[in-house]
Each structure stands twice: as C-alpha cells, then as structure tokens.
Amino acid sequence: MSPVRRTLITLLAAGLLAGGCANDPSEGGGSGGNTIKVGILHSLSGTMAISEVTVRDSELLAIDEVNAAGGVLGKKLEPVVEDGASDWPTFAEKAQKLINEDKVATTFGGWTSASRKAMLPVFERNKALLWYPVQYEGLESSPYIFYTGATTNQQIVPALDYLKQQGKKSVFLVGSDYVFPRTANKIIKAYAAANGMTISGEEYTPLGTTEYSTIVNKLGQAKPDVVFNTLNGDSNVAFFKQLRSAGFTAQTMPTVSVSVAEEEVTGIGPANVAGHLVAWNYYQTTEGTTNSTFVKAYKAKYGADKVTSDPMEAGYNAVKLWAAAAAKAGSVDVDAVKKAAGGISLDLPEGKVTIDGENQHVYKTARIGLIQPDGQIKEVWNSGAPIKPDPYLKGYAWAAGLS
C-alpha cells in the first residue's frame, strides 16, 4: 500500500470516528422517596453544544425555582442531566436510559429536528413524555411530545406577513442543508406563490460551512428585496461577517433570520449584524415583570454578561408548564399529566402561554425584532395576541399542497 493511499484511508477512518463518537457521563440514580427525577437531555459537547448548553442552564434555573416554591406535589425535582453529544443515535440511547434506568417523570431536551426525530420513537414506544423547546418546521404532533417552541404559523408565516406588509416582493432563500430549512422554504415558496411574491434564488450549504463569498456574490447579482435566512449554528457567523465585508449593509441587503437570537448575535459580533431582522416569540427586551424577573434570575445564577434568548425561554417555560400540569393532575403519571395539560395557561417571560390540548403545542405571540448595535433585539412588530398553534397549517388555503 502506498503511503498516500494509506493516509487517505486513515483520514477516512478518522472521519468515521468523528461521526460516531460519544461520551457517557452516566450518573448513578438512587431513587429517593422525597424527590421526583426529571431528565434533561441536550448536547453538552460537539457542534450543537454552542446552543444547547444555555437551554440546559435555563431549564435548571426553572427547576431551582420550582423547588424553591415547594416543588411538585410536595416533592423536590431532581434533574438528571445527560449529554446528547450532537449525535442523533446518542439522543435516542440517552432517552432510553433516562426512561428505563433513571425512571424520570418527564424529559426536557433536544434542539435539532434530527435529534427530536431520533428521540420520538423512543418516547412513543415507552409511553414517556418529552418537552421540546425549540422553534421547528411543524408537520408533526406526537402524543408523547409537548412542543414549547414555535411551529411555522407562529414564526415563519407571521414573518412573511410582515415582509409582505413592508412591500417586499422578491425573496432569496439561504439555508443550511437539512430538514428544517428545506421544509421551511417549501412553506415560504407556497406562501410566495399565493401572495404575489417571487423567489429570486434558493441556496443551501452543509451544516458548519464557513465560506459564503460565492453566495454573497449571487445575492449581489439577484438583488432581492430581502433574504430569508434559515442557516443554523456557526454558519451564521461566517455568513454575516462575509456579507458585511462584501460591502452590503442591512439597508442594501436586508435579511430576516429565524435561527439567530441574542446568543448568536454575541458570537457574530453585533456590529456585523446590527439592523437586520429576526423572527421569534421572545426577546431579552420583551416587556413585562415576569421577563425582567427571569432575566435577573438568570444573570444572578450564570453571570451578569449572559443573555437570554427564545429557545432558553421556551426551555424554562417547558419546566414551568409541566410542573403546573402535574400539580393540576395531582400526579406525575404521563397520561394524567397529558390529560391535565390542555388549557393550562401561565404568565411566562414571553407573556401569556397556553397549552393547546389537541396538538400539544402552545399559543405564542409572534414578534419581529431589529438587532441593535449593543447586541440586544428591539421588537418592531408583534401579532397582538398569542397565535393558536397550527403545525399542519390546516388553516391556510395556500398550504394545502404541503405535507
């Protein structure tokens, strides 16, 4: 075997290893009679750790607060934290472990749709509960998952309504190459066709791509009214840095992003992204005493320089909503909690949040925000009232062909 060929084979082997690695910080589980175990399952290592670590933090904060207020049914909550390691089979494996070995009452976890899709059959098979805290592409409604992030009609559709209202006629779609951006863009194209908007381009890049000059060049040639950005993770940093250094500003090439929150703005550098739009249901600046208390508590626990963001708030909400449902049910039994959950309404950082008992999503207010030079996001528009979740977009005639 020639040295070069051997080298290539070893490189290939290394690539396979990189895909399959996972660590295993198993925690011993003595089941005390005075505590209720709950699972927390996020990526604490690997490429998604960047986003998921903060959601774990806000969920732990919510558990602290529930415990400080006397716990659930007189028992304290005991979090069992597991690492999904940014690897989808690991998520399924750890979910199984939390359910079988730790016998947790419920689990809060996941970020990417791929991790949720990997965990879904595990929770359905074991008739266990998962609370999933991130906005996603919709078209799903598992009886064993509660979705506390936005579905498409609470984030993407309102964002399109806003753009239409602003007179934007042509849209360029830029996204990461996986299920969420591709599904979101299918919805955007159907909306555009029905509302007299044109799609002036559609580009996908593999997750983790850091080279965007060619796409920026294509944007410059297509000259769209607005760029709809569904890039995820690190790629956003490269995209916005390179968009700016190519001489575009938020005025000459406005973008609206659905996966860039306060946390990502810090990493991109506020100067690189100020003036661009984002669509979420919560910002650190959202008004209300519930939110200012949440922000204050989060900073007190994790540091004054920390920011809060939509997925973190949705994770925090999930814990609070589950605790309320268990209290109402008088039990942590899965079926009892599911039955009690419908109609539960709490005053949470984003405002009033109500569980829709039918599809197990929550009512959420849609908010369009403008990124400020200090890295905070200022709300420029909201839907006025919480929007009823509609994961299959049944209420929209133009969405009839989507599945």
């Binding site: 290394a14 903060t54 840095k241 190519a246």
Partner: protein
C-alpha cells in the same frame, strides 16, 4: 463581472485553505505524523486573539499573530514531547491518539471559554473593501492572502537559507543518513513540530476575520487542510500552494455555476481529488530520492 468576482473569491478561498494547510506541510508532510489535533491548534490561535482583545483592543488580530505562533508552537511541542515521539512509525496509533487529544482540547476550550461562540473585533482598517473594475475585494480577504504569501516566503527562506531549515530537509529526506552525519534528529523533530503547530496558530488568528470563533472551529478546516497537503504532494510547499489555489478556484466556480451549488461544489472538489490521486497517488510534486522506501 460575476465571473471575475468568482476568480477573486476563489483566490481568497485558496488563501484560507493554504494558511490552514501550511502547518501540516511540516508535521504531516515532512514528518509523516497525522496530527488530528492540528485543527485545535488553529482554534487555540483564534482564542489567543480573543484573549488579547481586552489588552490590544481592535488591533488584537495583529498583536495576536506572533503570540498565537508561540501558543500553537508550544502546544505542539508539548504534544510532540509527551506523546507523539513515542509513536513515531505507528501512523494509525498516532491518528487515534491525536484524534482523542483533539476532542479533549475542544472540551477544554468549551470549559474555559464557554460553549457559545465569542467575537473577535476586526481592526477598523480591515473592515470594508474596495471596488476594482466592478470586482469587490474585501480588505480582510486581502489581508489573509498577503499573510499566506508572507508565510510561504518565510518558510521557503527558512528551508533554503537557514542551517536549521536545511537540517530539517535532510532529516526528512533520509533520517538515518542525517543522523549519522551528526544531525540531532530529535531536536530537529521538535523544531519542525513547533513551527508547524505555530503556523496553525497564525491561521487561527486570520480565520477570526471571516468565520466563527468557537470550540469546534478547527474541525471545519482540518479535512480540507489534509486534502491540500495530499494533493500537493507530501512535504512539497510548491505543491500545497498550487493545490490550495486550484481547489479554491474550482470550488468557487462550481458553486457559482450551479444552482444550490455549495454542496455540489464540495462533491466536485472531492471527486476531482480522488480522480487525480488515481493517476498521481504521490500528489502533484514528489521528492526525488535514491533511498529505498
């Protein structure tokens, strides 16, 4: 105009590839060590710029260049002294070992600096760009290009003019013969590893200008960097330079000419490299030697 723009973009992609791969032409090319932790030395260089930011303000990137060279170099030296030298001649073991070390370093960065990305401000004079005949040239890309060229010139001077550099080449071409001629090969290995790893640190600083700064920064570049070295020919500086720019330009044009081209361009680049290595498994350039290898 778009086409001309793509040529410039291709050159700047090539410069980034070259900068990331330069260190590897030493450790992998010259010594044959497959160091999977090389990407984490790049990451360490990027964080060096971040750490220096409170001291140096928006000139951190410039100040960090020599410091990151030292940081990367020392990390490499520690790795070579403690571990790699015990595994010379066992490439598979070295690969697994350094892959494990790269994971440890990533998690260490996560524990020290936190999981989210951090921001390194570019110096004021590196933001923006200039329009030349309808072609946009961003200053930060120009800076990376100049830096890459500067590094190549410095390395080739070192290898041809300095005694240490000539010893390095001697050891690479025939280790036993160099040893019997009185060259302290162990010392030379240390120097080679120091320089190769230091160059990774320099690359890390430059990459803060265009991409994210986070614990997994290095993984985005490591495979491409190995490809450049393999396609160029092991230990061949000239080969690495040509391979980097050919791959950069190829990538940029395929992506530009095809709809949804980013994934497709990667496929084409990989396919071209595989086809090329079928005809020239030794890479573009190869060291001519009479040694029996």
């Amino acid at each position: 105009m778009g086409t001309l723009n793509q040529l410039v973009i291709g050159a700047s992609i090539g410069a980034v590839l070259l900068l990331a791969a330069l260190g590897l032409t030493f450790t992998f090319g010259q010594m044959g060590v497959i160091n999977m932790a090389h990407g984490e030395f790049i990451m360490a260089g990027a964080y060096t710029a971040y750490v220096l930011q409170p001291l140096a303000g928006d000139q951190a990137v410039i100040v960090a260049l020599p410091v990151a060279f030292a940081v990367g170099g020392v990390l490499g030296l520690i790795l070579e002294r403690l571990i790699i030298r015990r595994f010379y001649g066992r490439p598979l073991d070295t690969l697994l070992l350094t892959f494990g070390i790269s994971l440890i370093l990533q998690q260490a960065a996560r524990d020290i600096f936190g999981a989210p990305n951090v921001q390194v401000d570019a110096p004021g004079w590196l933001t923006g760009g200039v329009d030349l005949a309808g072609v946009r040239i961003a200053y930060n890309r120009l800076f990376i290009l100049v830096l890459a060229i500067g590094c190549v010139v410095a390395i080739s001077l070192y290898l041809s003019k300095l005694r240490q550099g000539r010893r390095m080449r001697a050891v690479m071409q025939n280790r036993q013969l160099a040893a019997v001629s009185g060259v302290a090969t162990g010392r030379v290995d240390q120097a080679t590893f120091f320089i190769g790893s230091g160059l990774a640190g320099v690359a890390g600083v430059a990459l803060t200008l265009i991409g994210p700064v986070g614990p997994t920064l290095g993984t985005a570049y490591i495979v491409d960097a190995f490809l450049v070295v393999v396609a160029g020919g092991l230990g061949q500086l000239k080969g690495a330079v040509i391979a980097a720019f050919v791959l950069g330009v190829l990538n940029s044009f395929v992506e530009f000419w095809t709809a949804n081209g980013a994934s497709f361009a990667k496929v084409v680049v990989f396919a071209v490299i595989i086809a090329f290595l079928q005809f020239r498994p030794q890479g573009m350039f190869v060291l001519k030697s009479r040694a029996l290898t």
